[in-house]
Structures are given as structure tokens and as C-alpha cells.
Amino acid sequence: MAAIEMSHIDKRYDDGFHAVKDVNIDVQDGEFMILVGPSGCGKSTLLRMIVGLEDITSGDMVIGGKRVNDLAPRDRNLSMVFQNYALYPHMTVYENIAFPLRLQKMDNAQVDQKVRDAADLLELNEHLERRPANLSGGQRQRVAMGRAIVRDADAFLFDEPLSNLDAKLRGQMRTEISRLQKRLGITTVYVTHDQTEAMTLGDRVAVLKRGVLQQLASPRELYENPGNLFVAGFIGSPPMNFMPATLKGDQVELPFGSVSLPSHMRDMLKGRDGDLLIAGVRPEHFEDASLVDGGADDGATFSTKVDVVEWLGNETYAYIPFEAPPEVQSQLEQLEKDLDGESMRTQLVIALDGASGIKEGDEARIHMDVSKMHLFDPATGQNLTVDVEHAGTIPGLEVSTASA
């Protein structure tokens, strides 16, 4: 077992494409680290540099205290589960799992012992003599994991291992991977573009955008304290709502009315008076005003027309359109592109309690928890109200706060 330290990792492909830019990530011994980001952001590239299938253009890759930049994959003692499983079709399940051990010239009795242990753990016992082609997707997935765990590797690497499975199986395998990792306590780096997987599996999550690390933090920190617009929009489902916000003294003007700025934000926004910012509020921080206790302190209530209502039983999603000025509009459109085009029209998506009686077309009174609001700089996308103590690592932030 080993820690993995990446410092100033850069990757330029032969065609000149700069796929990974100055990434610093330290994966602690036994930690479950997630690399997440939209398609093409360089997650796989980074993972393949760890395992040695891709050359590192510059920077240091240190595994277990040893610099491995120039080592071949087989000398790094890591095991990897590929997106397409990459099982050997001409070998039985047994031989697939035994393959890494055979290469180590381990004697047959020991190989047998280890393969059977791994098969027990993954419930593959009755399939050992079958061929990969005849297995179901979930079973193939487990064989691939078996091949990874049978060897005492220093770390596991997963490249979107669940993306080929259907939704139900994906949920099951996700818990299985999590259980397995906890049980073996082995350092793990896991690539996904699915934010649910990222949130549920990871001890810490590294969010990447176009080859640049955006934030490295625990799932909770990412959710509550996103470092910029991109992270805020990427983490959470349905995504965070973004709307124009104009700062007027201690007041923030939102499309639905003015709210007063919570006290802890006032210092952070010094010198920004009169600026047009982007406010971000998560859907669940809105509520049907009639269901909120009158005593709620830093809340604001406004009344607006509800466009569409989706009732899901335990909760209700309501859609409320609004107008955005062009500066904000263009920034939001760019964000939408960065996020792989997850549709973000200028409308609020708010999650109300299932008990709420609001109907389509109603003029409803909505309560908003202002203390949970974030304010972003429309030009840089930076979160101006981030709680730095509880936001993990945000590259660039240390520098900018020092110079401010």
C-alpha cells in the first residue's frame, strides 16, 4: 500500500494538445480519491499517467515515496480496472484472475488459494470455469475487479468502471466497490464523470475542467463550499440555481426581490458595492413559505409565478423562469458548455416539500435560505463567499487571497 503524490503534472499529447495542466493531487495511503469532471477533461489521461500507460510530459509522480515517472507499468505494482473491463477472452474466468499471479511465477497451489479467495469475496465461485464472453455485464465487472485485487498491488485504479452497466446494477456495484475498498483498505483512484458516484464513493474528490484542477475536497465540502461556478454547477443534482445579483450596500438584488446580505459575507464582499454578481442557491434551500416556521431568521420570502410543478411524492420540483442581463447570460451559457451541456435555462429549479400544495400557474410565496447562498464573480467564476477553511484545496485561491 502506498500514497500517491502528483506534483505539477503536465501532459501534452504528440499532436500538441495540452490535456493536463499543472495538476497537484496527493492521495493518502488508504484513501479513496475520485477524479471527476465532464467528458474530455483529462481524467483518464491523469489516471493513465499514474499507472504508466501514458508518458508524463513534466512534473513528478511519486508512489510510495518513489518517483515512478520512468518506470514501466509492470514495475509500478498498481492494478487497474478498465472501462471496458479488458478481460482476456481466450482464458477462463479462473485464468483471467490468475494471470497476474502466473506472470509472477507463483506456484500453482498458491495461485489456486489466492484466486479462490478473490472469487469468494466477489461471489464468482460458480463461474470460474466459464469464459468472459458468456458472462453478464455485472459478472464481467467482478472478474475485472478480481484480477485487480488478487495481487497485492499498492493501489487500485478504476477508469469509469460502472459506465457500461444499467442503472440498477450500477447502484449495486457502487456499494460493492465501496465495501471492498473499505475492507481491503487500499489506496484507490477512481475516475468517473458521474457526480453521484463521486459524492457517494470518495473520501475526497478532485474536480477537473479542461485539464485544470478546480478543487480538491471532501464531497461535503464541495457541496457546501464550491470554489467556483463550475464546481458549484457540477456537483449536486438537480444542479445549483444561478441568477443575477446586484450588490447594493447590505442588500442583494435578485430577480425576485431584495434580500439582506448575511453578516458573514459582508467582509468578503468589501469594495464590490454596485457590482453585478451571480448568486447560487441550491434547489433545497428554497421552500414553500407556508411550510416554514415564522421564526426562521436569515430567510427571505418572495412571491412569484410558478411555471411547472413536478410532484415526486417525497418532494416537489417547481420551475420558475426569470430574466437575466446579457453579462450573466453569456457566463451561464459558457458554464453550460463546460458542464457538457446539461440544460440550464434561466429558470429556478426549486425543491419543495412533498406536502406543498403549490400548483402550476400559481402565484406562490417562496422562502429562501439566504445564509446558504453563494455569490460568484461573473468574470472569473470565482466564489466570493467561499468558506476557505471548509473548502479543501482550491488551486489559485491561496495566491489571490494573499495578494488581495
Partner: protein, 276 residues
Amino acid sequence: MKKGTGLQYWIGFALILVWCLLPVVWIISLSFKSEAETTTGSPQFLPKEATLDNYRAILKDSDFTHALLNSFGISLIATFLSVVLATLAAYAIARLEFRGKKLVLSLALAIAMFPVVSLVGPLFDMWRTIHLFNTWPGLIIPYMSFTLPLAIWTLAAFFREIPWEMEQAAQVDGATSWQAFRQVIVPLAAPGVFTAAILTFFFAWNEFVLAISLTSTPLARTVPAQMSFFVGPDPFNPPYAQLATASVIVTIPVIIIVLLFQRRIVAGLTSGAVKG
């Protein structure tokens, strides 16, 4: 399917079968006829009295058995070398980016398109000076140069079909490049390897022009060449029965090989390697 297609299908099938197999059946029938029967003016289709005399005679003919041995030796060696070299070359072509890759491929294709006859003269002269004339290597070398291009093209196509990830998985599992190639890639390309081997073997086994021109004695003469030396007692009447017998004998290994290897050329061996 429409109604009636079944019947048309079977009629067409029968026609093609008769068209292809009639000459073969004729040769087999001929090989069982006696000398006297083949020289009569109006021979019938089936032998009047089937006899094994032709087979006995031809297997006693030491020139023929020696030619059979030459054929086997030369074809097998040419096939083996050709497939080994082609596998390595095709792997490099499919997997590596190097300068002049296109050139190598087009050159290979050009060689394959070259007419064999045009090489006979130069080779004849060259082989005599360097003492390869009338030897096994003297035939093996030109056979390889004509079969290699085809084998390389076939195998390169197969290698390209194998997902890169197979090999990378093997490397991560601890294999050297050679181990990954030997234990993962070659088994997966087996159908391609067998196809290339069969094509090469057939070429060498059936080749006539070089075999007759580059040999002078039964020392290195292969069966197709040897057959042209079958002369009966009557110079104007070739020994048809003998020729037919030789043809049947020379065809048997080919049929055995096809039947043996057919089962190994299983398409879709790679299905299940990646998500199906």
C-alpha cells in the same frame, strides 16, 4: 423470406455443387480405372472394374514419393517462416507509429501483385551462381517473398481489431511487452494466424512455375513439377490414370488441413473481451 425461395435456393445450390464437384469426381473415378480402360476410345464415367493398381504403382515410384516429401518439407518450412515473420511485422505495423510505414505496406502489396513468371529468369541465373539452384531453400525463399505480403496484410487487419486495452491490461498485470504479445495478442489473433498459414501453405503446395524452373532433379522437385514428368509407354497418350491418381494424392493433405484448421478459424473469438 418469400415463399418459393427455399426451392430456388436448393436448385441453385445443387447446380453450383455439380459445377464445382464434377471434375473432382471425374478425377477420382479416373484414378480407379485400369490402364486399358483409359486408353479405349469411349471411356465411361464410372470405372468398370475399380482397381487400386494406380495407387500401388505411384507409391512405389520413388521419384513421386520423394517429390511428395519435398512438397511437404518446402511448404511447411515456407509457411512456418512466413507466418512467424508476418506476425511480427504485422504487429509492428498495426501497433507502432514509424516513418515509412505506408511505404512498407505499399511495397508489400506491389510484390504481391508482381507476376511470378517475370522473376523466373533472374532467379534462375542468380540461384545458379550462389548455388541455390535445385535446393529446398531455392524454392522456400521465393515462396516466402510471394506469401509474406498477403500474410502481413491479413494479420495486420486482425491485429488492428484487437483492442489496445487488452495489451495495456496485460502490461499493468505485470507482463513485459513480449509476454503481452505472446500470451494475449497472439492467441487473440489466432484465427488470423491460421488464415495466413493456410493461404501460405496452399500457395507453396500448388506452385508450379518456380518449381519447374528452379529444379532439375527429383532432389528438390515438388509434386506439381514432378507430375509433368509422368510419361507413359506411349508418348502421344499421357498416362491419364496415373496423373489422376497423383492429383488425388496431392489433394488429400489439403483437404485434411482445411478440415483441421476450420474449427480453429473461429470468428468472433474476441467477443466478450470488451462490453458486448
